[in-house]
Symmetry: C2
């Protein structure tokens, strides 16, 4: 009270000496958020924990990303980045679109680095409505609608969702539940059977 200058720092405002501004800071927080949500799940992840992992003050996390749900949305966006490439894949034209898509998705899931955060997103969405809501808004707006815009079929978003549902289901049975022989199947064998399904959903009336 006697030193108003020091009291400039409110609860949402980092101390000047802790602020690490710059283009790298937000990205570092985003990466930390993705790791924390992936490792701990939605419930057990806190803004404070993410701040610690990123080596910044919690107030800075609040400053850049707002609430925990906003932070989760940012983590999901980062985790979904591989899916953002999908419109480009589809943009190459309808020939072989099913195989390209199946191969691309399996590639993402086969790589533990990209698989872990995606599984974390699915887990969180299945157990928390707030997480499901974020996924719904981001997946729908960022991926499915863009994919649908390129498709020349009736109900293109619906078709894109059916294709996505198959890839999500395969990921769950193969990598989480790990039913055999699917869990140990050669990716090529999966692509060979799944590609015609995606091809039909995305290109045939």
């Amino acid at each position: 009270m006697t030193e108003p200058v020091k009291r400039r720092r409110g609860p949402g405002r980092p101390r000047q000496d802790e602020v690490e501004e710059g283009p790298g800071t937000q990205e570092r927080i985003r990466l930390a958020a993705r790791s924390e949500f992936a490792a701990r799940g939605y419930d057990k992840t806190s803004v404070r924990g993410v701040a610690k992992a990123a080596g910044v003050d919690p107030a800075l996390v609040h400053h850049y990303f707002g609430s925990k749900d906003d932070l989760f949305a940012a983590a999901i966006e980062l985790s979904m980045e591989p899916a953002m490439v999908v419109p480009a894949i589809l943009g190459e034209g309808p020939d072989g679109i099913g195989e390209r898509l199946a191969r691309y998705f399996l590639g993402i899931w086969e790589n533990p680095v990209t698989r872990a955060p995606l599984l974390a997103v699915i887990r969180s969405a299945l157990t928390h409505e707030a997480a499901a809501s974020v996924l719904r808004r981001i997946v729908l707006r960022r991926v499915l609608e863009r994919v649908a815009a390129d498709l020349d079929v009736p109900d293109p978003t619906f078709r894109a969702e059916l294709a996505a549902s198959h890839m999500v289901g395969i990921a769950i049975l193969r990598y989480v539940v790990q039913v055999e022989p699917l869990a140990s199947a050669d990716p090529d064998d999966i692509v060979a059977l799944v590609a015609p399904t995606l091809q039909r959903y995305l290109t045939e009336e």
Copy 2:
């Protein structure tokens, strides 16, 4: 110590006046377990809580079902009962098998009474390896292998798993993540597109 007769009751042994034997008791415990796991999830469900919900002594639950994982297995078996009908559906022959299967699964998912415990099983499997292991053993042994035995295709279990993966993925995107338009789509429209996929997986070389 002075009355050894009373000390017959060990920790795993219910008091005689609390024992409610009979064909209905095990079933009541199983139903209570399914409800508790569905409502609370794997982590927060306890043998004690299931006993309370069933109105029996915890020792009786232990006596009939062993550990929490065994109890979870029993709850999953009960939740998966609708899936046990699948071999019968497939037994009707290959014609229209895809449509029958798609329609049957959507019927189960559309009904909140059968949907809730199935979603609970998927949720638990995604978040707990013990639950995934139970699901893996039960689903594989009880459903997929029986289905596969009736199929006249190469790698029949693999084919059955691909079909199952699609239905699981649709359930997740439609009922949990609730992406539109899939979430509000008419079941007939889903069946119309998905049936040929299942038909191909289960009948074509």
